[in-house]
């Protein structure tokens, strides 16, 4: 069975140095939005008094489609005049999937937030990402020898019948 999307466990941990309009530090009511594409998004709770260093420590599970190249995290702030976007970070999928890391590795990541308009730097977002490996599936493994494993490290070879390739890997390996 080919996998078309994976579950990602994203824990949005905290933000640092957030500003509004390039000048004033954010005072309160910041929250984060995690997006896999323009349609799917999940939101954290609002940090009422964290100021420009909000802490959320909230775990969000999103479905990450296999064609998606980025995970987008936006930090918003509720102000008197409405909701403003403080900054956005685009996290390439290669930062948490593919490469030599084992499946299920807990990646601690931090990114620079940039304002949408002029792309100016506005703070840092700290989060952790873990690709959830489905437990009871027959993994799309290479039963014929010589193929390169695409998640790094040996894949679980469960229920693989010899001599027949049972699945089609859909992740590309991006070398950075």
């Amino acid at each position: 069975m080919a996998t078309t999307s994976r579950a990602l466990e994203v824990t949005v941990i905290s933000g640092e140095g957030l500003r509004l309009d390039r000048r004033r530090p954010v005072k309160k009511n910041a929250f984060a939005v995690v997006r896999t594409n323009s349609r799917i998004s999940r939101t954290t709770k609002t940090d009422i008094d964290g100021g420009s260093y909000p802490t959320w420590n909230e775990k969000i599970v999103v479905d990450f489609p296999s064609q998606a190249r980025f995970l987008t995290v936006e930090v918003h702030c509720k102000t008197y005049s409405g909701e403003k976007i403080v900054g956005t970070a685009r996290i390439p999928a290669t930062d948490f999937a593919g490469g030599y890391f084992p499946d299920n590795y807990l990646h601690f990541l931090s990114y620079r937030l940039r304002e949408d308009g002029k792309g100016e730097r506005n703070g840092i977002i700290n989060l952790s990402v873990r690709v959830k490996v489905p437990e009871n599936r027959v993994s799309a493994t290479m039963c014929s020898g010589g193929a390169v494993p695409w998640m790094g490290g040996p894949l679980a070879v469960e229920g693989c019948s010899s001599g027949v390739v049972t699945g089609v890997p859909v992740w590309h390996r991006y070398k950075y």
Binding site: T11, I13, S14, E16, D49, G51, Y53, T55, N57, K59, A89, R90, P92, D95, G99, Y100, F101, P102, Y105, L106, H107, F108, L109, S110, Y111, R112, R114, I124, N126, S128, G152, G153, P154, Y176
Partner: protein
């Protein structure tokens, strides 16, 4: 009687402690325990002298703490250093880390109805916790962050170690101040509670009122409306570096040597790569020896990857990551002596070139560290880069370091020669500036430690100490952030993972690890 000495760098012995005298016995078991402060960055050579009335037996230096069973039996020699024909017996030493330091509590404080001390806004409160000492005064042990403009503040969880508060029933003074940037913080209120009292406050979900002590306007103390609440009380064990090591975790050592032309022709006496026929070690050899000497004890198979960078190898092209042993297939050498031999032969076979780039070496080391994660997570990698020069591409190095920052890897950089190493200080983010890659990714943790060799020569502290001081802290922080516990430990859980990023904004963790290890001289056998 047995006396324990530590052998200092100049060979002299300094007494650490002695056991009691047991009379008339050929197999004494001493009761007296001797406490030794463990320092990771030095090889602490312990010498045990066993005294009798006339003759003296002693043993040569030994390193105990990395052994799994924590116990070591060694043969005794006479004072000339060898046993000769006589069987002088053995001494068994058992070393154990003293337990007290591991317990800690994580407390989440909150206050309500604090008095307003600011004119145009509300108070900016923070808490300061102090311990009462025997002389009657108090010593501050920690404080919370400042919450701005808030009379009902909630602070981030505070961790107190048992070393700091002593025991759970020791009275602690908790003061709430209004922060002023002038430094003149105004006392809002104070109260006295022990850790046990705080636990009760948490369990009963009650608040404790603050008090204002008597002043010149008021003869008695005033009970305030403001209250302190304990919203979270969490006991945990802070595992220390030695806990992991003695349960099977190990450090894997890797070396990268600078082969750029700025070092100078190795045949010339002023070259940094000059191999002195009299045996005097050059800067590179010294760094390899001193660092490797400490770390090799923590590496079980003593097979070390060794690379060079910036040199022109046999096929004529400049490589920024070539195997030091000149082999096409394997990059590992055996032991420190293997590194030295590979280095010496590389000096003959490799032409110094340039430029100075670390990126490839760091990427290769990172890949090794990453791949090892699939098999087990008990290995932590240490890459030593010895360089004489200024980086050609600082951003490339930053990018490689940022990518590697979430791995079980630390990068130690030694600067040799007289260059201006200012940009290296940027990599060693001790000033709090996290490294940022060109793609906007930010380093998860500070994995770099940089020391220029010339700064430490002539000083009391050796280059190794300066480099290795932070290493146990980096190791423990990596393990703790992933809730990786030492094996065979059936203990209270660490704080739940995900709570708090491994690179906290306020770095209040101790960088220098020193433990109390008690050497228990157990048996003196005559065989």
């Amino acid at each position: 009687m047995a006396v324990v000495y530590v052998k200092k760098r100049d060979g002299s012995l300094e007494e650490l402690g002695r056991t009691e005298v047991i009379m008339n016995c050929l197999d004494p078991t001493w009761i007296e325990k001797i406490n030794v402060a463990y320092q990771f960055e030095i090889v602490q050579q312990l010498v045990f002298h066993v005294y009798d009335v006339d003759t003296r037996y002693h043993n040569l230096p030994v390193k105990i703490v990395t052994r799994q069973s924590r116990s070591l039996t060694i043969k005794l020699h006479n004072k000339n250093g060898h046993a000769g024909l006589k069987n002088l017996g053995t001494i068994t030493v058992h070393a154990e880390e003293t337990i007290a330091s591991r317990n800690a509590v994580e407390i989440k404080f909150r206050c309500s109805h604090l008095d307003n001390k600011d004119l145009f806004s509300k108070s900016d409160p923070f808490l300061r916790i102090s311990r009462i000492v025997e002389s009657g005064g108090s010593v501050p042990i920690c404080k919370t962050e400042v919450v701005n403009n808030n009379l009902n503040p909630i602070w981030k969880p505070l961790t107190l170690t048992m070393q700091q508060f002593g025991s759970k029933d020791n009275p602690l003074i908790i003061e709430c101040f209004d922060f002023n940037s002038s430094g003149n913080h105004v006392l809002i209120g104070k109260l006295q509670k022990s850790v046990e009292d705080l636990e009760k406050l948490h369990n009963e979900k009650m608040g404790a009122n603050f008090i204002l002590p008597p002043s010149r306007y008021r003869a008695h103390e005033k009970v305030l409306k403001g209250q302190l609440f304990v919203d979270g009380f969490y006991e945990k064990k802070l595992y220390r570096f030695l806990d992991y090591i003695s349960s099977g975790f190990e450090l894997n050592f890797m070396v990268a040597v600078d082969f750029t032309a700025s070092n100078g022709n190795p045949r010339s006496r002023d070259s940094l790569h000059y191999v002195d026929p009299t045996g005097r070690l050059n800067a590179y050899q010294q760094a390899i020896m001193e660092v490797g000497e400490v770390i090799q004890f923590y590496d079980s198979d003593r097979r070390f990857p060794a690379w060079g960078f910036g040199g022109r190898t046999y096929d004529g092209s400049v490589s920024h990551c070539f195997n030091l042993n000149g082999s096409a297939s394997g990059f590992e050498v055996e032991g420190i002596e293997g590194i030295m031999a590979a280095y010496a032969s590389a000096l003959h076979n490799v032409v110094l070139a340039g430029p100075t780039l670390f990126g490839q070496v760091i990427n290769t080391a990172a890949e090794i560290a990453g791949r090892s994660l699939s098999s087990n997570n008990k290995k932590y990698f240490v890459l030593l880069i010895i360089t004489d020069g200024v980086l050609t591409d600082l951003q490339e190095t930053k990018d490689a370091l940022v990518r590697a920052s979430d791995l079980p890897l630390s990068v130690l950089i030694v600067g040799v020669g007289g260059a201006d190493f200012q940009q290296m200080e940027i990599l060693d983010a001790d000033n709090g500036q996290r490294l940022e890659s060109s793609t906007g990714k930010i380093a998860t943790r500070d994995i770099v430690q940089f020391v220029p060799m010339r700064e430490v020569h002539g000083g009391q502290i050796s280059i190794v100490q300066a480099l290795l001081e932070e290493l146990p802290g980096q190791f423990v922080m990596y393990m703790q952030s992933r809730d990786i516990k030492p094996l065979a430990a059936n203990a209270a859980p660490l704080a739940p993972p995900g709570q708090g990023h491994p690179y906290p904004v306020d770095k209040s963790s101790e960088d220098r690890i020193s433990h109390e290890v008690s050497a228990d001289i157990v048996r003196f056998g005559s065989n």
